[in-house]
């Protein structure tokens, strides 16, 4: 089942958060790939062609906005939904993400459960809780 689940690329420079989301997504039945910055995110995206990308916007080197712009500009990856993740709750953060091409926007702190709900929504999957399984 794990081999058949949708592939989610989790991009976050903060390891605890990245692994937490990755672990929970796996727990919830998704396949997960990880990237620590924008460049890795692009590499992984082009090589793995994930079903969805969870993109933290504040990244060292190439940031999430730029990575998203390049993904959306490339015909190979343009159709992959990008869910932006940010701890910046200040005004304008969500607009900047939308402009960069993000399809959805989630503010940290975001409970793993809430994130999975958003991922399922974006992929058009039925909402089931882990306990339901």
């Amino acid at each position: 089942m794990t081999e058949q689940g949708p592939l989610i690329l989790v991009v976050d420079d903060y390891e605890d958060a990245r692994e937490m989301y990755a672990e929970y997504l796996r727990f919830c039945g998704f396949r997960v790939a990880e990237a620590r910055n924008g460049n890795e995110a692009l590499e992984q995206a082009f090589s793995l062609m994930p079903n969805l990308i969870l993109m933290d916007l504040s990244l060292p080197g190439m940031d999430g906005w730029e990575a998203t712009r390049q993904l959306k500009a490339d015909p190979r990856t343009a159709r992959i939904p990008v869910v932006a993740l940010t701890g910046h709750a200040l005004a304008g953060a969500s607009e900047g993400a939308k402009r960069a091409g993000c399809d959805s926007f989630v503010t940290k702190p975001c409970l793993p459960d809430d994130l999975v709900v958003e991922v399922r929504r974006m992929l058009g999957l039925p909402q089931t809780t882990p306990t339901d399984r």
């Binding site: 605890d16 958060a17 929970y24 701890g87 200040l90 409970l111």
Partner: protein, 720 residues
């Protein structure tokens, strides 16, 4: 009439004693009027009438030079009849011509032809023609003829008369042509008329009744009007006649000597004419008593008199005015505080006002020093005006100068400014010099005071400038401090924003892993572990709330809180809020009652912010209420166009003195570390700021132990 000398040559005639005196009377007359042929003839005919009873008679004179028989006098017949009874001496058939040659009177029968106009003059019937014999018994016959009705008892007188008159006429005629004499008379008469007509004053002869007998042309204009004249003119003339008659009768009563005035009307122009009437009575033997009046036009004279009178009165008024003016001028000059002196060209003072007198006259009770002072003043003044008196400078030159005078009594120095000007007659001759002295002591004192004042003012100004500079320095300092404070505030906001972000990242992991553990990602949990994880979760969430609230305040202060207006019904907010807080409500065991206004209209506002406020108010109410209930009411005020959401509780209440304080940042009523109630103390501060951002407000009605009601009021349309 004065009695003349007795007649000489004619007195030798023998006369009857009864008529001796009568004959002498005639002869006397002849002597007086010895050269007037006509008068002598006329007097003879009158004599005949008086003494011989001849009622009508005519005297004819034979003028051999012109060959005519001319009528020269008539009695009892018209004057025209006399003048017209002229006939030719060469007419042999004329009985009168024949009578001239006769020695005795002849009777001419009126039935016979050639009676001429003489017969008509005497009337029909026979008449006697008495030849008048001259001194020289000439061939040509009698000098003239007397024509009359024949009578028996007149012969002696008639014979005497014919002789006397004949000789007299002969005498007079010897001096010239008879006809010439007559014509001369007529010319004289005409000249006389011309003369009196040429007199511009009206001259009139009237009878005693005022009836006009003779009038000159001017008088006729006033007193005579023919039928052909205009109505107005005739009336004027009539009026003039009445006025004149009245004047005459007055003069008759009061005596003629006085000249009197008479106001008449000019018939031509209708204007008034004033005349002075001089009347004198004349006696005329033929015409009887008459009155000669000379009217002198004094209209212009009167007008001139009145004019003179008027001018005189005006002059009197002007003189009075001039006197008043002069008095006033004197008063003014005296009332001028500055000394004024008027000097004539010789340097004599002709006028000075009271202040000048104080300087230039010695007081009665003065000491010697006063006299010397006055002399000194005089000398100074004289030298000042001497140039002007000597004719220096132009006619309009004003001389200014300073003179050092002294007060005669006190010897106090009086510096004066003297201003002198010339007064000149129209011909440019200098008539006076007027000098005004102005005491400069006051001005000098003023200058001194001004200097002092200026000094003080300068000092003050310097102080003000120093103070201003100090103030500017302070202001600059304050400005810099303000900038620094602003920067510090901005840094604080930025720091808080960064910190909240930094807080979130670890908190995200804490909450996330706790969540995962609770969801059994790491396998089943013991009851104790689950309870402990639940504590971590709840405290983490509380920490998150605090961080979010700090972030909200920071955003609002930085003006970075976006307002998103949408249309929604405020009533639908209430169940949503209640749903959100359902776990808390359930735990509190309180009853929360919504009271919704179905009439409340939809509002245009920020739905999320309104909801946030109500959540905050309700959670506060739940936190501070231990028993009783909570009510959430939605109300609409159409008058003010606002909607209110009121959250009322039966909680501990707030003392009035704390009503304001609880809306301040990080405040609770109890701020002590050992306080009973948790929370950041930012909730109400945020609510109030959010309400303000929506154009609304939050009001509190509460008392200690009596519950609280927080009311959010927002406008129906918050669109800026």
């Amino acid at each position: 009439m004065a009695r003349p000398q007795p007649a000489r040559s004619l007195a030798r005639q023998t006369l009857s004693s009864g008529t001796e005196a009568a004959r002498l009377e005639l002869l006397e007359y002849f002597l007086i009027h010895h050269d007037d042929l006509q008068r002598c003839a006329q007097a003879s005919l009158e004599w005949l009438h008086r003494y011989a009873g001849v009622k009508r008679s005519v005297c004819l004179l034979a003028d051999r030079d012109s060959g005519t028989l001319v009528g020269v006098a008539g009695f009892g017949v018209g004057a025209d009849d006399v003048e017209m009874s002229e006939s030719s001496l060469s007419d042999e058939g004329n009985p009168l011509v024949g009578a001239l040659a006769s020695a005795e009177p002849i009777i001419i029968n009126s039935g016979r032809a050639n009676g001429g106009s003489t017969r008509a003059a005497l009337g029909p019937g026979a008449y006697a023609a008495v030849p008048l014999r001259g001194v020289r018994d000439r061939e040509e016959g009698a000098v003239g003829l007397l024509l009359m009705r024949p009578g028996s008892d007149t012969t002696a007188d008639l014979s005497w008369l014919s002789t006397v008159l004949g000789q007299k006429l002969d005498q007079i005629r010897g001096r010239g042509s008879l006809a010439e004499e007559v014509r001369k008379l007529r010319r004289e008469r005409s000249l006389l008329f011309t003369i009196i007509n040429s007199v511009t004053d009206p001259i009139m002869l009237t009878d005693t009744e005022g009836r006009l007998i003779v009038a000159n042309a001017r008088a006729e204009k006033l007193f005579a009007a023919g039928e052909e004249e205009s109505e107005g003119r005739r009336r004027a003339v009539e009026l003039n006649n009445m006025l004149f008659s009245a004047a005459l009768s007055r003069s008759a009563v009061e005596g003629p000597s006085e000249a009197r005035e008479l106001l008449l009307v000019d018939p031509s122009e209708g204007s008034d004419l004033l005349f002075e009437v001089l009347s004198s009575t004349v006696e005329d033997s033929r015409e009887g008593t008459g009155i000669v009046s000379v009217l002198r036009n004094i209209t212009d004279l009167r007008r001139a008199t009145e004019q003179i009178e008027e001018n005189y009165q005006r002059l009197r008024v002007l003189e009075a005015e001039a006197r008043t003016e002069r008095d006033r001028l004197n008063l003014i000059i005296d009332s001028v505080a500055d000394p004024i002196i008027v000097t004539d060209p010789t340097g004599e003072t002709v006028l000075m006002n009271a202040p000048a007198e104080e300087l230039f006259t010695v007081p009665v009770t003065a000491a010697d020093i006063a006299e010397r002072n006055v002399q000194a003043n005089d000398a100074h003044f004289s030298s000042f005006i001497s140039g002007l008196l000597l004719g220096e400078g132009g006619p309009r030159e004003i001389r200014r100068g300073e003179i050092g005078l002294v007060n005669p009594s006190s010897s106090e120095l009086i510096p004066v400014e003297a201003i002198a000007g010339k007064v000149q007659s129209e011909s440019g001759e200098l008539t006076a010099v007027v000098t005004i002295l102005h005491d400069r002591r006051e001005a000098l004192e003023r200058v001194r005071l001004y200097e002092q004042l200026k000094l003080a003012s300068d000092e003050l100004q310097a102080r003000v400038q120093a103070a201003t500079a100090e103030l500017a320095t302070q202001n600059e300092l304050l400005r810099r401090q303000a900038i620094e404070l602003e920067q510090a505030s901005r840094l604080k906001s930025q720091f808080l924003a960064n910190m909240s972000h930094e807080f979130r990242t670890p908190l995200n992991a804490i909450l996330g892993y706790t969540h995962m553990l609770l969801h059994g990602v790491a396998g089943d949990l013991t009851v104790a572990a689950r309870r402990q994880l639940t504590r971590i979760d709840s405290n983490g969430r509380h920490l998150l709330t605090i961080i979010n609230e700090i972030l909200d305040i920071t955003r609002i202060e930085a003006g970075k809180m976006p307002i998103q207006i949408s249309e929604f019904n405020p009533s639908e907010i209430v169940p949503e809020v209640m749903a959100e807080l359902d776990p808390v409500i359930a735990r509190s065991k309180l009853i929360v009652t919504p009271k919704l206004d179905p009439e409340a209209p939809p509002v245009h506002s920020d739905r999320q912010k309104v909801k946030q406020i109500v959540v905050n108010l309700l959670s506060n109410a739940l936190k501070f209420t231990h028993q009783g209930g909570i009510e959430i009411a939605v109300m609409h005020d159409a008058d003010t166009g606002s909607v209110s959401i009121a959250v009322s509780d039966t909680g501990i209440g707030i003392a009035p003195e704390h009503h304001e304080r609880i809306f301040e940042d990080f405040r609770q009523v109890d701020s002590s570390p050992s306080r009973q109630y948790g929370g950041t103390g930012l909730g109400l501060a945020i609510c109030r700021r959010l309400a303000g951002a929506l154009g609304g407000r939050i009001a509190l009605r509460s008392n200690l132990g009596q519950g609280s009601t927080f009311t959010l009021t927002i406008p129906v349309d918050a669109t800026p």
